[in-house]
Symmetry: D2
Subunit: 441 residues, 4 copies
């Protein structure tokens, strides 16, 4: 998932793609799924002003309007461009909304995306409609070949990745404004309920064992989840829920951000250069901590999982507490044995709740918050990038990043898998990222 610099790292080998039968009813369901996923992007932008959609508050953030255009560009470039008779919406958009595909031409500089006032929001929505009409026609005609079905599938997952980035980027944009604007007045799922207390932390023990890791080939997956292979796991224990705000606050109050001994060397540099004193979006009030959320400034809920921490902070907390982060293999093994989570972006939006983590609980291996693992992002044994433009950069980001697992409250429920490997540099904090502890035995 990662930033859009990375978000197209993923591809699907053709034989892994779903192979829908070509009957009319399938076309109809494919078309409806396309409409549904595409509509969610527009829904995410709906509460925003044109100016909100134009902001880039740090180089990693892209304007909402850019996300809306770039995801559209993906279908136009890889699916429609070679269709006979298709006319591009605007001849300059191919370069303007290319993220980093060198084979498609030199991309517009990433850090300058927030300096483009045109095309405006309205024209961008027209661009989306122009492409949606053409794609829908193509689907309805029922003559998509295998590669086209693959590109369509890939484009929808790509769109869902960018939906999560839209939400995290919007949060960064609004939080950068001293007026603390509110994205939505909706509340979180667990506010004001008696059940909103995090459970006592339990440890799950695992002896040395050989496990199967990676995608099993059923349904869609990115190529970095393959090949499925065997890994030897060492004896260890893993926590059954994530670290909470309350637990993390103890680390802060114990002076954790002032003590170099808990930190990686690069992490200590990051703490000092950025002036970190708490997770991102925590705001120190006169008497207490508050946190900026998509529904505005709120009191810090001690039972929620700590969120918007970097790998450095997760790792420092773990050292301070005498534990460590799980490897991505330990995580995947543990997740397989646990129930699926329920805090996902699509469901929150449908039920009228704000995109925000729920109280940390034992069923949250997926959803709620991404979980940093102690694994640097590297290829699986036998990994091969696919060929062509779509696979141009597969694996090119496998350096100096750490793997996150499980998705978050900003991920769609049909986008995440247990084998899904997200990755970010260790100082990234603007995603909904938390962590759970593990320990060697």
């Amino acid at each position: 998932m990662a930033t859009d610099l990375q978000s197209e790292q993923s591809a699907l080998t053709a034989d892994q793609a779903t192979s829908p039968s070509t009957g009319t009813s399938t076309n109809r369901s494919t078309g409806e799924r396309y409409q549904r996923i595409r509509a969610m992007s527009v829904n995410i932008a709906a509460p925003l002003t044109p100016e909100d959609c134009a902001m880039q508050t740090m180089p990693d953030v892209s304007p909402t309007r850019w996300h809306l255009a770039h995801t559209t560009w993906f279908f136009e470039t890889f699916l429609l461009k070679e269709q006979p008779g298709f006319r591009p919406f605007h001849s300059d958009f191919e370069r303007l909304f290319n993220s980093y595909y060198n084979s498609v031409g030199e991309p517009f500089p990433r850090h300058r995306r927030g300096q483009l006032s045109r095309p405006g929001l309205e024209e961008t929505l027209q661009y989306r409609q122009h492409v949606d009409v053409a794609v829908s026609q193509l689907i309805d005609q029922g003559e998509l070949n295998e590669h086209q079905r693959y590109v369509l599938e890939l484009g929808l997952h790509h769109e869902q990745q960018h939906q999560e980035l839209m939400l995290t980027d919007i949060k960064h944009v609004l939080a950068s404004n001293p007026l603390y604007p509110i994205y939505t007045k909706n509340t979180a799922t667990n506010n004001n309920t008696e059940a909103s207390l995090s459970t006592t932390l339990q440890w799950s023990e695992t002896p040395e064992t050989i496990v199967e890791i990676g995608h099993n080939g059923k349904g869609f997956a990115y190529d970095n989840e393959s090949p499925r292979h065997r890994e030897l796991i060492q004896p260890h224990a893993i926590a059954d829920r994530c670290v909470t705000n309350g637990e993390y606050l103890e680390f802060i109050n114990a002076g954790g951000y002032q003590q170099p001994e808990h930190w990686l060397s690069l992490g200590w540099t990051a703490v000092n250069e950025n002036g970190w004193k708490a997770p991102q979006y925590w705001v120190r009030g006169d008497e207490d901590w508050r946190q900026f959320t998509l529904s505005g400034l709120r009191p810090l809920d001690l039972h929620e999982p700590v969120c918007h921490v970097s790998y450095f902070e997760a790792d420092a907390y773990a050292r301070w507490s005498g534990k460590r982060l799980p490897t991505e293999f330990e995580w995947e093994h543990a997740a397989t044995a646990n129930p699926t989570g329920s805090v996902f972006a699509d469901r929150l939006m449908e039920s009228g709740h704000v995109i925000h983590p729920r109280t940390a609980g034992a069923s949250d291996f997926t959803g709620n918050v991404w979980e940093w693992t102690g694994s640097q992002y590297l290829p699986y044994p036998g990994y091969r990038p696919v060929s062509g433009a779509l696979g141009e950069y597969n694996g090119k980001f496998m350096c100096n990043q750490f793997v996150l697992r499980g998705g978050s409250c900003a991920t769609s429920s049909d986008h995440i898998r247990l084998s899904y490997r997200n990755f970010f540099p260790p100082d990234a904090r603007w995603q909904f990222s938390g962590f759970r502890l593990a320990d060697s035995r």
Copy 2:
């Protein structure tokens, strides 16, 4: 005038302010003038989208929306705030739209102005209206004291300075977009007319003489134009018009941008670090040069004065041609003996023309393009900054800048004076800045 970092450097000692009699008719004319000048700011923004008004394409550029708010903040802070019963439009705006007055509180970081999506354009226009109503009432009541009349006068000149910055900032914003959006389809005043040829350059000779320099005390002036004092001018000649695009093109074609011997040491560094090959907004086509204007990309007009050049470029051209730039005193002396120009922002807008220089002619000491002088910006002998917040920073920019004189096509005709001292660092190019030559005798 300068950037807004500098644009409030100016103040008026109380006794220099106009002292209108307090009859009703005066109130009415003051009120009308206030309305007219304030309306021009809104008119400048009228062709723009909300997104256009939000962009900051380099640190020196402020979003149009910021200019609209900041000029309003000026009246609110220095005129209305202490009025009994006045309620500020929004309690946070005082800090948000402060440019650099430390005594008013810590300003919002200048380079982050383009990261604020709120207040949006609509709310900003409401803010203007809120303040305009209160100021107009104050004027109509006819009870402005001397200090209030001074602040009102200063605020209107301040507004006019920012109107010029709005125009140059908008030009920078639009030029930064590969789509080259058009601000207005209006054409320049001298397009397609037979009279649009620059005149043959003539030299005006002056022997050694002592001249009076600075503002004569009649009407409004900034404090940096005072005190009026005597200067000894050396024997010299000064050109009767500015250097044209055609003449400057010869310098380019002769390899001027590749030859260090014409350049100041800092200038040569600027050429290489920024990759300068021509004035800003010149675009090299396959066969010819074009220039980006507020009415879009157009063929380069060889008879227009060269514009959007830095001091470094003006100085290098002068050295290359065996001449030099005039001092600001030589310029002021020459300007006094010449007719007033006619290419000003207010007149161009009234007559439906684009803001763009006209063919270089002999009557353009004022208007058309600002003229770089060879004088670094320093205080006049006996200069004293005024006291209080408004004068807080008078003179604080008198270091490492060069003086420009005469105003430009983006200046209002009732804003400029022969004694007016504009100033910018020697690498600034986004203003409508050109130059004329001089020579020692």
Copy 3:
């Protein structure tokens, strides 16, 4: 080993240290070993001028004089300081020559080490002697306790690490000078012999297997080599020798440095920002490539292993050739089955040869050139840092680095082990670093 920022990451749990019996003969051999290793540092500096010893040509490089002092500081601080009656050579040296032990006090800024002219070379050598006399007395007294024996052992390995850094830093210093000064006129071991041709590359096949990885507890090891544990290795093949200059030249000639598709995203940035066109110290002549060595500029020997390449370059070459780098576990497994190398710093110096790689051959898993692996540097399962100042930063560098294995021609033969884990950021090139290929089966 790594840079000195990292070089003290290593510690020895007390029970891993050698436990010499305390007889006089043991004291004598310990004393002799101490003298021998300490003397080698001085020998490395012997061909240099005082000015050579003062240079810091990039932040990663430390002046030779600093290395001489810092290794001495180690013994003074951790072994002598608490001895009754010991007087430090100079009260300010504790801070001046601390590399990064926060618990010892705030270190002098690393990047400013080349700005210290005092203490000079002569005084630094006196400092060494002062400490050597005290340490030798301590050894001779035969009353070292267990902790002291551990610190002594650690200090000697620390000294050997810095000896390698001295050699690589000196090479960088001399190569930065347009005069290309010669460190020694000695030649390499394999110059002008018929046997100096690299062998045809052979592949060694391994099926899936579980192997023991890490130090076996016999003799000295750093803590990052522990605990010894089991790893599952996938089916793969590994080359029996390193990639040669000749092979790497094909990559260059095929345009490898101009084609983004072979490079990691961060690697492509490094190529362009640093202007890399070949390995470090390669010099393009009019007709051929030459390389700067410690015996001066010499024709490029196509049969030597390619050296002074970054991880990015090793990885790009591997992708270009359709292969990959081995994991550190694959490497350790293969090395265990192969004969030990013979190209080490101590032996080269003893036999009067220059420190330079020898023709790539099948017996060079250790010595000759360090080998980049595809493994990011992470803790072994169950790794625990030791406590106290010496272990202060164990593991603090386990982030965004890659593991190198096997030692180089600049490593001492009694310093390297098959379990030895060196680590550097992926853009480091000034070490004697090469690589061998592997492939998945």
Copy 4:
């Protein structure tokens, strides 16, 4: 004088050069003067170690050894190179010791001068001797033509400029070392004498007057001192001595470094970015201020002129005290009417005193400390750069610098003139720079 980047800005039009008659006695005196001035450079380096001579502690500082070589390069390049039969000492030195003459070839990067260990100090001294022998022979032959006499003269003034830079650079190098090494144990001229109290400050009044400014053509001068011309001076008063440490301390104690209202905008930025709290080389002790001098750390002498302040600090002090700095014309006019100073580098060295300012007194317009003026460095009316390589960059530094006048305790007595224009950027502090006050009337 300025940094060496600037120090060759100066040239002598041929007719301004001394025109010695060509008799043997003249040759002998020229030869002796050459030997004397050249010897002083070596004497300045005499107390230093080879390592001291190699340091570059900031980009503006050059290693002493570089100064020794560069001044030699000047004679070799501009005087000897075209002599028949002359063999350069080393073919690579032409590029290595070129400061910035583009017409002589691309100079070695300035900021990397401290990364060259070769040629070492000994070889550099041999280089000097090689050139000195050849120059002396040329002088003795008595056949120097006019241009050669001019170059010789220029080379000696160039050498003296670099002697001052050697002293200030050495001070910076030693002060950067926490050991605070002592350059010489010699004391200052006025230590421990009863007469060492600064006099009460007196003001000298001047009405409006026209004065002659610039060099009168007798003896050597740099071209920036010409042409001599008339300037109109406004009514003003000027202080008869410089501001003292004691007076400046009042500014510090009054919070001057914490109050933005006294500072130029760029100055306030410099204060905060550099963490300035006092003049350079002032060291805050537990109970009092000390200052680092070339004879080590000493108590601050309140009666000495404040030294090592930037233009920004001089200007801020002046504003704080309700005064201003004199213009360079006011200074030159006042200096003409006052006795010559006596605190110069050559005399201090001859009499065995340290290079350090003496108690501020009324006869110090020349010597003691350079005095910042309020004038930015611009060409005099009618200034023309000379042609050819030596004049290549005349005037290229006339931008964003301020003029200093009068020389310092590090200037040779036969190098300074009342018309001498030194110049530095407003944030430079490592020269012996102080200031006196003026006021408008």
